[in-house]
Amino acid sequence: MSFEQIIFYIFSAILVAAAVGVITVRNPVHAALFLVMCFITTSALWLLLEAEFLAITLVLVYVGAVMVLFLFVVMMLDINIAKMREGFTGYLPLGALVAGGTIAVMWYVANNDYFNLTNMPPPERLAADASNTRMLGEQLYTTYVYPFEIAAVILLLAIVAAITLTLRHRTGTRYQKIDQQVRVKRDERVRMVKMESEERK
């Protein structure tokens, strides 16, 4: 076994273990953290496929952004976990059966001639100085410009949807109006008063 394979198996094992952890641990915060671990190990696997940019972006976006939101939500929820877990064991046999069946089918299908090493030889390793990011960039903004702009529209839609669904204004909040504050002139705030000196009585 080559060194790369060892690394692959180590990370895969962690990934599978973490994934099992996500669905079995009792505490939702722990589950979310297991999910973070899943993402990190997945990123390592992608890196083994030489998808450098995507692997690092996975960490940046999913670990650095999406899971932070997840944790926000999970930490602040008052959910009764014990109650939610009722019925879990009831469905367990059925679930296990379905999962087992799916795994069996996938095993059968993936052990196919298509994916053996003669049909799909391992691709050539990239040179040490090859820039994966550059290769991606050369395609994305020209050949795939249409999907790229649709992605922008989806992000815009996400902004609109998020604000429509979550934004509520508290009534009676007073804001600091910084531009006015900065623009204020001395004359508007300070009044010079000339006073005659008075004799103390």
Partner: protein
């Protein structure tokens, strides 16, 4: 390409090990004399009233959602930034359009007051 990542992997492992080692040292060298007052949550001398995990303003979620969106945007900008000289005017304009679409979203959230912390 992959061989360059080997030191990174080792470095990460050492980073974790180093942190773990320091805490372990603390456990080995420090005294352990717990008592209930010492272990209770710190609340300026009062007894804690309730569980600390409270509900929070929905605004935090909104910030996090908007952050995800902008983070994705940055992820799109990175490859563009480094190939800008190769993809020419068309590539530049396609990003101008992309940013334009998102600036519209930005104006929207600004005017809606989503960026205003209350």
């Amino acid at each position: 390409m992959l061989e360059n990542y080997l030191p990174v992997l080792i470095f990460i492992a050492i980073g974790i090990a180093f942190g773990g080692f320091m805490i372990l040292m603390g456990f080995l060298l420090g005294p352990r004399k717990p008592d209930s007052e010492k272990l209770s949550a710190y609340e300026c001398g009062f007894e804690a009233f309730e569980d600390a995990r409270m509900k929070f303003d929905v605004r935090y979620y909104l910030v996090a959602i908007l952050f995800i969106i902008f983070d994705l945007e940055i992820a799109f900008l990175f490859p563009w930034a480094i190939v800008l000289r190769d993809i020419g005017m068309f590539g530049f304009m396609s990003m101008v359009l992309f940013l334009g679409i998102l600036v519209i979203g930005f104006i929207y959230e600004w005017k809606k007051g989503a960026l205003q912390w209350e």
